[in-house]
Point group: C2
Chain length 179, copies 2
């Protein structure tokens, strides 16, 4: 095995590692191969480049690169004289992590909080209503308590997301570690 092959071998290990974990960023497998290829490629690539390099359809490249771009894992770049779309990796992995984290959990948080608000309103109405059975009232009380708990949890999660987004998190877990 010559030097260049050894280099490729070392790269390939990392590429597979990335590919196997891209699902943590909500990306399909092909996006993982694509991302890891772009990571080692030192210049921006076109859809046709990627298609050829990975031996996959151009359609597939198009959809997965869009998914990667929406999650800000890759970026479109412009180069004079080049008509095709060019893409390269967004190389701030810390920010990538933060963006993905807020996106994934943020959706869940707002969905839950609005559901909780509505249900608590209904349950409170049930408590106020004198026509409601005592047993049902008892259950409603229990449910309201449970919803109070998870509402507090989601509030915490919301503040956690904020702490990531405004980089407060780096105060307790700093980036720089020279070990």
């Amino acid at each position: 095995m010559n030097g260049y092959d050894k280099l490729l071998h070392a790269r390939k290990r990392i590429m597979e590692s990335i590919t196997q974990n891209i699902h943590l960023f909500g990306q399909p497998p092909s996006a993982g191969r694509q991302y890891s290829m772009l990571f080692f490629e030192n210049k921006p690539m076109t859809l046709d480049d990627m298609s050829e390099e990975l031996g996959m359809s151009k359609t597939s490249m198009s959809t997965s690169i869009r998914s990667l771009a929406e999650s800000k894992l890759v970026e479109r770049v412009w180069e004079r004289g080049v008509r095709k779309d060019l893409y390269e990796v967004n190389d701030d992995w810390y920010q990538n992590f933060i963006d993905t984290f807020s996106l994934r959990w943020g959706r869940s948080i707002s969905l839950h909080l609005s559901a909780i608000r509505r249900s608590q309103k209904e349950l409170n109405a049930l408590l106020q209503d004198e026509k409601t059975d005592e047993e049902v009232k008892e259950l409603a009380k229990q449910d309201i308590e449970k919803l109070d708990y998870i509402r507090n949890y989601y509030n915490w999660l919301e503040r956690l997301v904020d702490a990531f987004e405004d980089h407060e998190i780096f105060d307790i877990v700093p980036k720089n570690n020279d070990d």
Copy 2:
């Protein structure tokens, strides 16, 4: 609609919200229905209870409850005189979040770090070797630099996971918020 139906309606909204987001905990949809049912049920349930209540196969209940238990989202409890396995939700949602977070990212971290270590070793060997082409050496240098960057990132992520696991995170994002 009578009082009890209204209660169930309010519950159902929350249950669907939970079901739709259970994938964030790496759980299949059926586990979501199961979990949310257990959440409102005020006593532990057996596989047969769940199967009947959800109208799903017992096999399905068995596999998804195991998945939930492995992620510590539910717990097996014991009750005298009851032969069947009984399950109830683990109601510390903060800890659930932390456990899932560490599990999901922890796997990725150790996988990546070991891949990086190996590849960096190979690339360094390539640099030392006088038989290696200059061009290849140049590429190797670039790759080592890239791997240094992501190694630092994964070290950060590892410390982040630690900060969650030992609850340091509650220092900057405290649980108690009485709004």
